[in-house]
């Protein structure tokens, strides 16, 4: 071997050792590829080189040196099967003056190609150049494979990291959700977490209440969304819908930009939906992404449902408390004892329904010879009705003390009630003054069920008066009527809780039955008449729960 050859072999060898040390010192793929190309360039005085990698059975440019920007953009699609015979490949080499290529491969697989341009001196590649390149690439291949393995590991690590991140997000949320009882807060957190994890800006969170969609959060105009969702057709869906399915089954939703719909289930039933648009990083939703969104959705919907149930329970509690207060008010408004009088017998009965109505009656001894009696039914239920009743009682008590004529007092009471009621509350009201000496009974009936005056086997209905209290201020004054009562006359005063008392077949007790019974019993004492009426009503209703109060007063002239 000539000295010159020996020298050059040594030089080659030392270049190879250097190269080997260099490329194996780093696991960075770009660094490795750059060094392979630059070592080739330096050793053989080449100015151009390309590295192609096999991806999906095709050759793709991975790295290049010595080309101006975009010069390689025309790289054709070349399959690796028989690429050497491919015309497109040959044309590509020719076009860019590429002279020589070597396969990068390990024992197990074909990684890609290194393609090199012509030498600066335009001389062809010598055998020894080719030998050198083969050795160089052999060393390089291992380094490339190692770098690739590291890249794959990094990728796996990243997937793991993002999985861990999603898990910690789930943990964070489940902790937070268990402590919140507010639907709005839950939906906000759900949305925040999902849009950050998935990088989406278009989203909506919808639940379904009474077959109407309820949009909790949305970056899509709510009216458009509600239009599209209509009567909650998607409730039938229990599996996530991808873009293809949405386009196929719910094209209007797809038109709004929704490409993923994930149902939120409780016990297998869809209670809501998470709707998502395209991801801003242009990635598609993976199975793992869908699992994450479903998990967050599952957590959230339970929390939302709990919050709804909680609200309902509170509401119910409040209502019951409300009823209790109302009952107390009402009971305190009714007279605690019935005046015992020589001239007349009085008997009274009042029973409040579970859902308090607004029956009221009063018996007030005005002076030695006058008795005021009143009966009323306030519209509405609960505290509102009870308060209106309390108002009525207050008006009544203050007006009667002033000794104003009954008609004028009625006008005044109506004005007061009208001014003090809102949202259409009203009162049916009957009151009268009985002169115990002359037995003259003067009454005004403001829209109340006419009391029955029983006399000689006949019924006279006490109808004279005017409009129901509270509808509007007094325009037409009330009218009163004076009736001279005689011994054995009976007056039955009642509220519609009696005549409308329902039995289990939803049949009313009725005016006729009350009138008939009253006539039958007219000769008995006031207490006996009252008891007969109450017993008869109980016989009618049996166990049916009454929705209205029942009040009855019976007066008999001695």
């Amino acid at each position: 071997m000539h000295l010159q050859d020996q020298n050059s072999a040594l030089k080659n060898l030392s270049a190879l050792v250097d190269f080997s040390n260099l490329v194996n010192s780093s696991l960075d793929l770009d660094f490795t590829l750059n060094n392979i190309l630059f070592t080739c360039f330096a050793k053989l005085q080449i100015t151009k080189g390309v590295v192609l990698f096999v991806e999906d059975n095709k050759l793709n440019i991975k790295s290049s040196k010595g080309f101006v920007n975009h010069q390689l953009d025309d790289f054709p699609e070349i399959s690796i099967d028989n690429f050497e015979a491919d015309k497109k490949f040959k044309t590509f080499l020719k076009q860019h003056h590429l002279q020589y290529y070597i396969k990068i491969q390990t024992a197990s697989r074909f990684i890609g190609l290194i393609i090199l341009g012509e030498k600066l001196n335009k001389k062809p590649y010598l055998e020894k150049d080719k030998d050198f390149l083969t050795t160089l690439i052999n060393i390089g291949s291992t380094a490339i494979e190692n770098s690739l393995a590291v890249e794959r590991l990094k990728e796996i690590n990243k997937t793991l990291d993002s999985k861990i991140n999603q898990l910690s997000s789930l943990f964070d949320l489940s902790k937070e959700f268990s402590g919140i009882i507010e639907e709005k807060r839950v939906s906000k957190l759900l949305v925040f977490s999902v849009i950050a994890q998935m990088l989406v800006s278009k989203f909506a969170l919808v639940t379904c209440e009474n077959r109407k969609p309820k949009v909790l959060e949305s970056r899509i105009p709510v009216d458009e969304l509600e239009n599209v969702l209509g009567d909650c057709l998607l409730v039938g869906e229990t599996e996530p819908l991808d873009e293809i399915k949405i386009k196929e089954k719910y094209s209007k939703l797809w038109n709004l930009g929704i490409v993923l719909a994930i149902p939120m289930l409780i016990k297998g039933e869809t209670k809501g939906l998470i709707l998502l648009g395209k991801r801003l990083n242009n990635l598609t939703y993976t199975k793992s992404d869908i699992e994450y969104v479903s998990s967050v959705g599952g957590l959230a919907i339970i929390s939302i449902e709990n919050s709804r149930l909680f609200k309902e329970a509170i509401e119910k509690q409040k209502m019951e408390k409300d009823l209790e207060i109302a009952k107390n008010i009402q009971q305190n408004l009714l007279p605690s004892s019935i005046p015992k009088l020589e001239e007349i017998e009085i008997s009274a009965y009042n029973k409040t329904a579970r859902q308090v109505g607004g029956d009221y009656y009063d018996l007030i001894k005005l002076n030695d010879k006058e008795l005021l009696l009143a009966i009323a039914d306030v519209s509405g239920k609960g505290v509102q009705a009870a308060l209106l009743m309390a108002n009525l009682q207050a008006f009544l008590k203050s007006i009667v003390k002033q000794n104003i004529p009954l008609v004028h007092a009625s006008n005044l009471i109506n004005d007061l009630v009208s001014e003090n009621t809102t949202n259409g509350s009203f009162i049916t009201f009957f009151w009268g003054k009985l002169n115990l000496e002359t037995k003259v009974f003067e009454y005004v009936n403001a829209g109340h069920n006419p009391p029955l005056l029983l006399r000689n086997g006949e019924i006279i209905k006490l109808k004279k008066g005017g409009m129901i209290l509270g509808v509007m201020n007094t325009v037409i004054p009330y009218e009163s009527e004076k009736v001279s009562l005689k011994t054995d006359d009976v007056i039955v005063l009642f509220t519609d809780g009696i005549t409308e008392a329902m039995n289990t077949k939803n049949e009313e007790y009725s005016d006729e039955r009350l009138e008939e019974l009253s006539l039958q019993k007219a000769n008995a004492s006031s207490e006996e008449i009252l008891n007969a009426i109450i017993d008869d009503i109980h016989e009618h209703t049996w166990d049916a729960e009454q929705s209205d109060d029942i009040t009855c007063l019976v007066i008999k002239v001695k």
Partner: protein, 117 residues
């Protein structure tokens, strides 16, 4: 409960949010309030200085997603500065650097708003 605090400063036409401590599902409402205030005051150019942020959860990141469009629709933006490495890694993991600008220091981020004008 871990400390959390949001402070607002004005730097010319740019608002700087200093977010400190732990930003998780529990503390997001404070950050939302800060953004709502910015929008009420028509301050759409925002630099978020995270030098004292120790942890951020997905729910916290979501707040930035929820407000970015409004800011950009009004010729503003949300830019981040001074992130600790751990915190940046979380932003990176979810792909935020593709959608948002990140700066090593607040001054660069603030000045960037000036340039685009």
């Amino acid at each position: 409960m871990a400390d959390f605090k949001v402070d607002m400063r004005g730097m010319g036409s740019v608002s700087v949010l200093d977010i400190r401590g732990y930003l998780d599902a529990h503390t997001t409402p404070e950050l939302e309030n800060a953004f709502n205030k910015l929008i009420d005051d028509r301050n759409y150019k925002v630099v978020v200085n995270l030098s004292d942020l120790n942890y951020i959860s997905s729910a916290g990141l979501g707040v930035f997603m929820a407000y970015i469009e409004t800011m950009r629709e009004n010729d503003g933006d949300i830019k981040f500065s001074n992130l600790k490495k751990d915190v940046y890694n979380i932003f990176d993991l979810l792909g935020f650097p593709m959608l948002y600008e990140f700066y090593d220091n607040e001054k660069d981020a603030v000045e960037k708003f000036g340039e685009s004008k």
